[in-house]
Symmetry: C3
Subunit: 428 residues, 3 copies
Amino acid sequence: APPSPARPAASAAMMAHGVPNAVFTLRTGISQGKMVYIGKGGAIDGQVHPTLTAHKGDIVQITLINGEGAEHDLTVPDMHVVSQRVNGPGASSTLTFTAGNIGSFPYFCTIPGHRQAGMQSLIQVVPATPKEADKGVSIVRDPADMPPPVGERGPMTVRYDLEAIERVGRLADDTTYDFWTFNGKIPGPMLRVHVGDSVELHLKNAENSVMMHSIDLHAVSGPGGGAVLTQVGPGETKSFIFKALHPGLFVYHCATPMVSAHISNGMYGMILVEPVGGLPPVDNEFYVMQGELFTAEPNGHTGLQEFSFDKPMDERPEYFTFNGAVGPLTTEHPLHARAGDHVRIYFGVGGPNFTSSFHVIGTLFDRVYANGSLESPSLAGVQTISVPPGGSAIVDLTVPVPGKYIIVGHALTRMEKGLVGALIVDGK
Amino acid sequence: APPSPARPAASAAMMAHGVPNAVFTLRTGISQGKMVYIGKGGAIDGQVHPTLTAHKGDIVQITLINGEGAEHDLTVPDMHVVSQRVNGPGASSTLTFTAGNIGSFPYFCTIPGHRQAGMQSLIQVVPATPKEADKGVSIVRDPADMPPPVGERGPMTVRYDLEAIERVGRLADDTTYDFWTFNGKIPGPMLRVHVGDSVELHLKNAENSVMMHSIDLHAVSGPGGGAVLTQVGPGETKSFIFKALHPGLFVYHCATPMVSAHISNGMYGMILVEPVGGLPPVDNEFYVMQGELFTAEPNGHTGLQEFSFDKPMDERPEYFTFNGAVGPLTTEHPLHARAGDHVRIYFGVGGPNFTSSFHVIGTLFDRVYANGSLESPSLAGVQTISVPPGGSAIVDLTVPVPGKYIIVGHALTRMEKGLVGALIVDGK
Amino acid sequence: APPSPARPAASAAMMAHGVPNAVFTLRTGISQGKMVYIGKGGAIDGQVHPTLTAHKGDIVQITLINGEGAEHDLTVPDMHVVSQRVNGPGASSTLTFTAGNIGSFPYFCTIPGHRQAGMQSLIQVVPATPKEADKGVSIVRDPADMPPPVGERGPMTVRYDLEAIERVGRLADDTTYDFWTFNGKIPGPMLRVHVGDSVELHLKNAENSVMMHSIDLHAVSGPGGGAVLTQVGPGETKSFIFKALHPGLFVYHCATPMVSAHISNGMYGMILVEPVGGLPPVDNEFYVMQGELFTAEPNGHTGLQEFSFDKPMDERPEYFTFNGAVGPLTTEHPLHARAGDHVRIYFGVGGPNFTSSFHVIGTLFDRVYANGSLESPSLAGVQTISVPPGGSAIVDLTVPVPGKYIIVGHALTRMEKGLVGALIVDGK
Ligand SMILES: [Cu+2]
Ligand SMILES: [Cu+2]
Ligand SMILES: [Cu+2]
Ligand SMILES: [Cu+2]
Ligand SMILES: [Cu+2]
Ligand SMILES: [Cu+2]
Ligand code: NA
Ligand code: NA
Ligand code: NA
Ligand code: NA
Ligand code: NA
Ligand code: NA
Ligand SMILES: [Zn+2]
Ligand SMILES: [Zn+2]
Ligand SMILES: [Zn+2]
Ligand SMILES: [Zn+2]
Ligand SMILES: [Zn+2]
Ligand SMILES: [Zn+2]
Ligand SMILES: [Zn+2]
Ligand SMILES: [Zn+2]
Ligand SMILES: [Zn+2]
């Protein structure tokens, strides 16, 4: 849930079809009787003469918007760039450069007298090492990483601490991507509470983040589902409390514009609100979410992949993923059960866009809580269940025969783009 | 429901990848012993020597098909065009020109003796002013524009008068489109009856229309859902009566081929057939429909946008809309409620193609009548509901906390293409 | 259900963006102390010095992979091709040629001494006549081709014999395609059993097939849904037995990688597992499935169409089909009923990818068994039902008024690509 449907500066820049990865907008104005640059959107929103932080190697884009009418421009002499002059309210100019060296570099207005009057600040280029160290790190959440059932008890206040972490991780063999995550893995941690519980949710944005982030939980009743209260810049923490009124399996996701980009990059997870009496017990519980990645280069290219700005608009993902990467549920983290086990999968779709036709080859779902709802009639004897983006389903199945059961979206060309997992059933 | 699955002339021309907007097909034949041109498809279907009407500025396309075998052609000397000769049954030729000036211009066959024998008629170019006057007019139906509940009563005959109106309206700031509508707004009016009622439906096609139109209601049992009985040319009116046998929320739409183009251009709405005893009362009722627009130029271009003939085939809309335009439910007509209100949204998808993952950020649906069905088990505690094109859902929600609740399809890249609304909740 | 999620050689070749239609991978290795070529994937998997069979006119592609490290290559002198040398484990080279003439042609390694040591075998080019004779043959299964209800009885063992048949058939007027089918028609035969029955399923792959095939039934509990046990090369037959544990309408399909290509090409059908007590009797039962075809040339081109390797990845079908071809349910095999009849349609989606918004214009579904499930609450009064790929629905409707009822997916642009049928209702 974005705080407002207006498209922010970062998103507008994204639409310009370039691929800057450190994007800022500055508006000129008057503050306390002086001419100033004011940050607009993102982590610098509303700041007077903000320090602009980028990582070494970033393509930096600064859009200057004339806010009060007098003529201005913006230069970063160390980067050999100067904007056009903007004259009259609403006039704007954009400049782009690469942050090649670490250090602090002044930016200011070249109109005679303006810099002296205060129109200046710094661009700070920090090392990219935290991300480079991450190269090849797994961002895949183990599907077995499920908290235990809550069990029957009276309502409590449950505290969760989440952290928005941007990190380069492994998308496929020899292919990495600059993921945005909750707690470093995709999906974010499964939160698990009892209906009636109060949830105290703390969201930190890591110090070395470049973007703002936030959280919208579909279990929340209130504006933005929490996102209005949790827009956090790098290093910031915010929190709020909500009451889990409805039992069910609910998606959460970052809701900082452009929301679909934050979701695509990996910022989604789920919260399970257990009903009174709990769910019927099973032998194995798993946590699986479907995602889409939009890379500038086609599926299969190696190296660090850049986000594509066109492909999301065209709804053309290059990768479909279970738990964040290409096929990790077949290799790194297959699901494991024993013959005869009752298995439950908590399945959700981050998306951002594609409905999943969730299916486990060689099994039928004995029970399906469609729409992730625990207040609706459940289904039985279901082969394939449709799950929309921002939606979920709880599926129960039994696996009498040992062997390998392939987990797919039955839109089967997506298997070729990474959407495949395995449930391995050993003899008892 | 098209009267027949055969692709009509207009549609065949559309497939030719040009962008004519006044499209005619003439077949040669023999009528009462004379060689004639006969209109084929559209408003001129079956007419001998039809007058072809276009608006000033239209790109006119005429396809000549040899129907009886003798050699013919077609010329419009004032437009400096002449077709190839068509010789033998089935031979055809197409010519295209721009209707630059208002007036009446002869067309005829140049084969010696044919014009004299009667093979001639007129192209009438009329002012485009009625449409130009419309430029920028809102075509957005206020989501609060809901008729009141029918209440409990015996079966009645209810009369509705609908009019197919083509008008240039506002798609986005500084962007207009030549919409086709029922009663001038998108969606068409909500019809509201009681199960068992007889509905007498009159469909007029406005005098200044260029296309034929019709209506197919999903509440009708009978060929074409009404579309077979209501194909109306410009200025015509037709009517029929049907009995509302099933309670539910049903889509209606124009079903004149190419049906998907008529739907995309705005010709859809809904009829609510209330069940015995009515629906549970709520504080606020709203009416929202999702649509897709296919413009030749990309999303964001200003000025009058042309329909694209390729993009519908590729299922690549440039715009997604609630109630016809880009984001009008956030600006022009947000939904309004007060804290604690029970809110009901009658939601449908015109499409033509995309399933909606309907979601209101910051709320859960307390009750969902999925598929628009009032004879099926309802759902509760639902975060996101899938609604197919030509389908609907009734969703009930409560909004305890004041603030702004963003209405989306959870395929969230579509938000960037216009699919966003707001429910504004004031304190009580 | 593929036996393994690993992408096989044939599929890797497909990704190379060429259009070979006889694709082989050979790995070098040591077998019984000798240097050998070993087949990898497809019908030759694991064979030492396999004979490679192609049809006259095929574009043959052979990928050579170095398996053991010594230097090798591969030549087919009669085709004037020789691969690059592959040196060191994992090195590979691909050659492509056209099988222009019928006959047996040696292939071997040119490294001195290797051919003599045994590194040689044959490419056999067989006549394409069996397929040419098929040109224009109908591959459309009559929707009335439904076995009768099973009726109430104790559990039995029911035997079905299916045959994978590749044949050139009619896709549209003057347009043909090399379909892959079960039993020569699309969809494959409706299997119909009683819950609790044991099904003995024999799958033969026709002698003149080029590909391996298999069967995965969504009614099966066990790895691959049967596909692990039924991978059959040309001329082979395999069988297995399973118990139909759940009532419902279940999709079956070929699950030989690349699975989505086998499905797209026509290898899908359904099995109806009747519940205890059977389904309520109706007057007419029909069998309809939706498919997608990916042709290299756009919709509407005539002649024999080639499979496109890019379009499935982009989810851009050129054709949408009911029962395998363009509009056959309006022309060749419309559905027939009489006024007042109760009609049931067993509807499924082969896909591979698109969810159907199934709708019959001019009717409402009185009853829908959504998800093909007979153990879940059924729905009533439904206008349009979402059916995912690899999913199904049973819909009941009544047609009181004579006339023509058009069958569509309500994503109506697909009608222009072939997705249309008709239910013709005669007076009683
Ligand atoms: Cu974020
Ligand atoms: Cu399957
Ligand atoms: Cu119309
Ligand atoms: Cu949300
Ligand atoms: Cu096959
Ligand atoms: Cu309809
Ligand atoms: Na970044
Ligand atoms: Na899928
Ligand atoms: Na027009
Ligand atoms: Na959506
Ligand atoms: Na294959
Ligand atoms: Na459809
Ligand atoms: Zn950076
Ligand atoms: Zn490349
Ligand atoms: Zn959401
Ligand atoms: Zn016009
Ligand atoms: Zn442009
Ligand atoms: Zn319709
Ligand atoms: Zn072949
Ligand atoms: Zn062409
Ligand atoms: Zn399947």
